[in-house]
């Protein structure tokens, strides 16, 4: 994007820096490919259709979970209920469906309804009552998690319908999981919401400068509540697909997605401060997270070493993309 004159004057080091920092999404893809290449080089057997298919499947589930988080972060908020909503939707799916595909629409309606409810609660608490979003969404997420235990007595039963399961894990041409078909529907929808719709334009404006957006006539409160609702609904849907992938569900099954989705979104270049970011970046971030986790599994590292590597990688990514300005600047 820089003018050519400026670019010509830069040293090689500066050029590399600009290349790395101008597009986090591109970098995430490059790092993912490099990581996968290293994994394959160390253990050639890890390059097979099944592994590729499972990477694609997990990346898509994490991307769906990150879609809402991307919107919320662009709007200057934070949503920690993603994990709890996904787990609840998964439990709801297996419990209500209990092997009968005919109940898909009922489950869909219930899950989306629950998503709307939690999203509204998040939105109203963090917008109308002006609580810090991080704290309030964590508190709500705790309550939602406790509800899972109370309603299921800690032991949710049932399983997803076989056709629904098939629509997620069946392989097209031997390796593409049919979950991709859902992605063909969902990804354009999120892209439309963020980049083409009025909601998206106003969301970016508001994230950039809430006061300015408010003064230009954007109903900021409405947009902020809406983004929390979208986030919860998308998480609920991701939870349903996750339940189909797992077959059965237990309490807190997808809780780690709360943080994983956040990390994927940050890695994809969405800024914590709001107003900057894209869904494409979040998909790339999700890919990086999954490839990293796959690599750590393939290398058969012990659990503690895996934990340390995960933490250090996250810190390194933060250092590259999310440093705050110095006091002196």
């Amino acid at each position: 994007m820089l003018p050519n004159r400026l670019e010509a004057r830069m040293t090689a080091g500066q050029r590399i820096q600009v290349f790395i920092q101008s597009s986090p999404a591109r970098m995430a893809v490059i790092i993912s490919v490099a990581l996968f290449a290293i994994t394959v080089a160390i253990n050639p057997r890890s390059l097979n259709m099944a592994a590729l298919g499972s990477i694609l499947l997990l990346t898509l589930v994490l991307s769906f979970a990150s879609a809402g988080q991307t919107m919320v972060l662009i709007g200057g908020g934070l949503d920690f209920t993603v994990g709890a909503v996904m787990s609840s939707a998964a439990i709801l799916t297996t419990y209500v469906m209990n092997g009968q595909d005919g109940r898909f629409l009922l489950v869909f309606a219930l899950a989306i309804g629950m998503g709307i409810g939690v999203g509204l609660l998040n939105g109203i608490c963090s917008v109308k009552i002006d609580l810090p979003p991080m704290i309030v969404t964590m508190a709500i997420s705790n309550v939602v998690t406790r509800m899972q235990y109370v309603l299921t007595q800690g032991n949710p039963g049932g399983y997803a319908g076989p056709k629904f399961v098939g629509s997620v894990i069946d392989k097209i041409w031997g390796f593409i999981p049919s979950l991709t078909l859902y992605a063909l529907l969902l990804v354009p929808l999120v892209f439309f919401l963020l980049n083409k719709s009025r909601f998206g334009k106003q969301l970016y404006m508001m994230g950039n400068n809430p006061t300015a957006a408010h003064l230009t006539g954007v109903k900021t409160d409405k947009i902020r509540i809406l983004m929390y609702v979208f986030s919860a609904v998308l998480s609920a849907f991701a939870g349903m697909l996750g339940a189909a992938y797992m077959g059965t569900a237990r309490c807190q099954i997808f809780d780690e997605y709360a943080f994983n989705s956040l990390v994927a979104v940050i890695v994809g270049g969405t800024a914590f401060t709001g107003g900057i970011g894209s869904f494409a970046g979040s998909i790339a971030g999700a890919l990086l997270m999954i490839v990293l986790s796959n690599g750590l599994t393939v290398l058969a590292l012990s659990q503690p070493v895996r934990n340390i590597v995960q933490g250090v990688v996250l810190l390194l990514l933060l250092i590259v993309y999310n440093r705050e300005r110095a006091v002196r600047q």
Partner: protein, 349 residues
């Protein structure tokens, strides 16, 4: 205006007022539900203190960080680090448990310094940086101690559970010790600097205060208190577990917010104490409330899941309440400033 009333009005404007009100409300509720004679028995008070000292201390450790404008979610797993280091040094090196505790304290200070370096020097968002640290510390914990093990000699945990003079719980002394040190610190230059830095690092820097150094001091205080919390946890459980305590981080943070601490430059140590007191007392009240229901209604049975749900819902409502009242409080304070700047015509009401 009477002296007492003026004192009350002054207290009403301090950040700790909201936390104090909530705490007293729940405390009274607790005493009513549990029955005064039972609640005030020294044994019940002792259990209340000794079982909840880790949470109280963790919350107090979080307070200096919040005041100086940062935070550390990994504080919970750091308790486990102190626990693991203490037990393993004691068990493997064959030295006194006191040496183990000292090493645990050093480990806590080291992690605090690392977190400070990432947040203040490298300038990463504190929430995310400390979240990444959870993974690192958890991994280190398991590397040091691969599975729950170890034993604390009876003499140590008996002392921790004892009552001094048959009245004062030993664990309450740790709390008192930390509070006294903090009161002293608040009278030094550090006590003013930490609020300046938390309120606005930029302005503090312009006024000649080094924000990075002040945040380092706050981190070290946090490290010491976290170390004490980890030691309390070790004495309480009397064994080692590398994966315990992670939830303390979030609970401590919400306790601080309920107590009235803001993100940077607003609130005091009293907020943290009242906030943690609120959480602890709620937990206790809900437990005895369900006990009461069992006795009153024959055949009434629910699982412990209900207790957890009810106390989490109350915590959520506590959060809602604090922010509403805290807003009024800040508004009152701001108007107080405005009045003073306008020539003080309303200084004497």
């Amino acid at each position: 205006m009477s002296n007492a009333k003026r004192l009350f009005l002054h207290f009403r404007r301090t950040p700790a007022f909201v936390g104090f009100t909530l705490f007293v409300f729940v405390l009274v509720l607790n005493i009513v539900v549990q029955g005064p004679t039972h609640f005030f028995s020294s044994r019940s008070l002792n259990t209340l203190f000794s079982k909840n000292m880790p949470l109280l201390l963790t919350t107090m450790a979080m307070a200096p960080l919040l005041i100086s404008g940062t935070l550390d979610i990994s504080i919970g797993i750091q308790l486990a680090l102190v626990n693991v280091v203490s037990i393993m040094v004691f068990q493997e090196w064959g030295v006194s448990l006191y040496v183990g505790f000292s090493m645990g304290m050093l480990a806590s200070l080291a992690v605090s310094a690392l977190c400070w370096a990432l947040v203040s020097v490298v300038r990463l968002p504190s929430m995310l940086a400390s979240f990444a640290l959870i993974y690192v510390v958890r991994g280190v914990n398991v590397l040091i101690m691969n599975k729950p093990q170890g034993k604390v000699p009876e003499a140590y945990y008996k002392t921790y559970d004892s009552l001094i003079g048959g009245v004062i719980p030993f664990s309450a002394l740790i709390l008192l010790f930390v509070l006294l040190i903090w009161l002293y610190l608040m009278r030094t230059k550090f006590g003013r600097n930490i609020y300046a830095v938390g309120g606005s690092p930029r302005n503090a820097f312009a006024a000649g205060i080094n924000p990075v150094w002040v945040q380092f001091q706050a981190s070290m205080i946090k490290g010491v208190i976290t170390g004490l919390a980890g030691i309390s946890l070790t004495l309480m459980t009397a064994s080692g577990n590398p994966l315990q305590g992670e939830a303390y981080g979030l609970r401590a943070l919400s306790a601080c917010i309920i107590g009235g601490l803001g993100f940077g430059g607003w609130g005091s140590m009293a907020c943290a104490v009242f906030g943690a007191g609120f959480l602890v007392t709620i937990q206790n009240t809900v437990y005895y409330f369900f006990n009461l229901l069992y006795r009153i209604i024959p055949g009434f049975t629910v699982t412990s899941y209900w207790q957890n749900l009810v106390s989490d819902i109350i915590i959520f409502f506590g959060l809602l309440m604090t922010i509403v009242t805290a807003k009024e409080q800040r508004e009152a304070l701001r108007q107080g400033f405005v009045k003073q700047f306008k020539g003080g015509e309303s200084a004497t009401q």
